[in-house]
Symmetry: C2
Subunit: 211 residues, 2 copies
Amino acid sequence: MGNLKVAKAHIRAENERIILDAAEAIFARHGFRGSTMQMIADQANLPKANVHYYFASKKELYRRVVEQIFGIWLQAANSFEQSDNPAEALRRYIEQKMEISRLRKNGSKVWANEVINGAPIIQDFLENQLTEWTDGRIEMIQKWIDDKKIRPINPRWLLYMIWATTQHYADFTHQVETLNAAEPLSKEQWEDATETVFQIIWAGLVPKSGT
Amino acid sequence: MGNLKVAKAHIRAENERIILDAAEAIFARHGFRGSTMQMIADQANLPKANVHYYFASKKELYRRVVEQIFGIWLQAANSFEQSDNPAEALRRYIEQKMEISRLRKNGSKVWANEVINGAPIIQDFLENQLTEWTDGRIEMIQKWIDDKKIRPINPRWLLYMIWATTQHYADFTHQVETLNAAEPLSKEQWEDATETVFQIIWAGLVPKSGT
DNA sequence: ATCAATCTTGACTGATTGGTCAACTGTGTT
DNA sequence: AACACAGTTGACCAATCAGTCAAGATTGAT
């Protein structure tokens, strides 16, 4: 009796995963309106009607994709934990965000698309979780400043700088690769870029020296 | 005789401008597929058929919008001229790019949208003009490094950092404003953000001191 | 006044697409 | 074997939208 539900739930969970992954890829490449349920169905290797069996509407499917991305984003955010060693905290956060840009390009692109278009779907996320998280980190950075661990700059602009720089490698992958002789960045290039981003920002925060 | 053509050309030029501006605003908010010719026509206060009189197809209109943006981008690029004073050149370039982010949000958003989606329309721009320009600037930055005017970093990642950081304020306006109590950034905030971006990057490039 | 050219516009059309539906399949339980 | 129920699927429909068209308005030159 319970077995039946579990077995069925397993199929459901698996198909939902397949469809969500397909949808993320399609939404990333074509945006919300540019993606069709048929494209997503093809990407998932399922008939369109079957996609609608699992997700009532295109909007619902999109919302699920964006929610999933926000979850990953928050996870990375945690790597930026309370710490009185700014260099370590910043390094960890930048590395984490660059890693997400490398491995979860599609998610980042969907998120960017959503925000560029005024966040019609996930405005509540921005207003609640994101605002709360940002305020917390700003306080933390301010404390570093008060303790003279870094130079006095506006913490908010620093955060935006880190977000922008790291996400650039996901959102603008196409541009980055075009400027890299149409090749994806190699492992070495990713590491070098990450290190450079950290080095410039960190040296920019502390007048004395690097690392 | 010539007069006729001039008079007509004037009307044409004016209407084309109105439509291009309207299209830029609509494409920025809704992306290519999300925008309808009807929306653009309404924004321009013209009947839809009239828009089609000036621009044969939606794609052509879009291409014209993107080309216009690329022109502005190149113009800013020129402010980053050959100079053996890195601090001055960088400051000028960052200020210019932040100014564009402030005044030409829509253009930047359309560009971002286009690149995120794999640049289906303007791939040739990326491959030619952008590649050429980028290579030139990289050489220039490398020279600064060789002359020990700035620390040895990979010039390419520095350029991406500047692009990403400055364009963030245009592309992610909605997020920035949500995190600013739903208010646009004030004149002072724009100036402060610009100065902070420059200060961090510049101090990050030169271990010795600021400015 | 006449004419030719540009410009304007409401009405229409063919193609696309989100979503529905009813018939069907497979599986595990009794 | 009979049944219940999750899952599958092709065919269909109503809405939307890019683009067309043909009839008319405007303008300026002669």
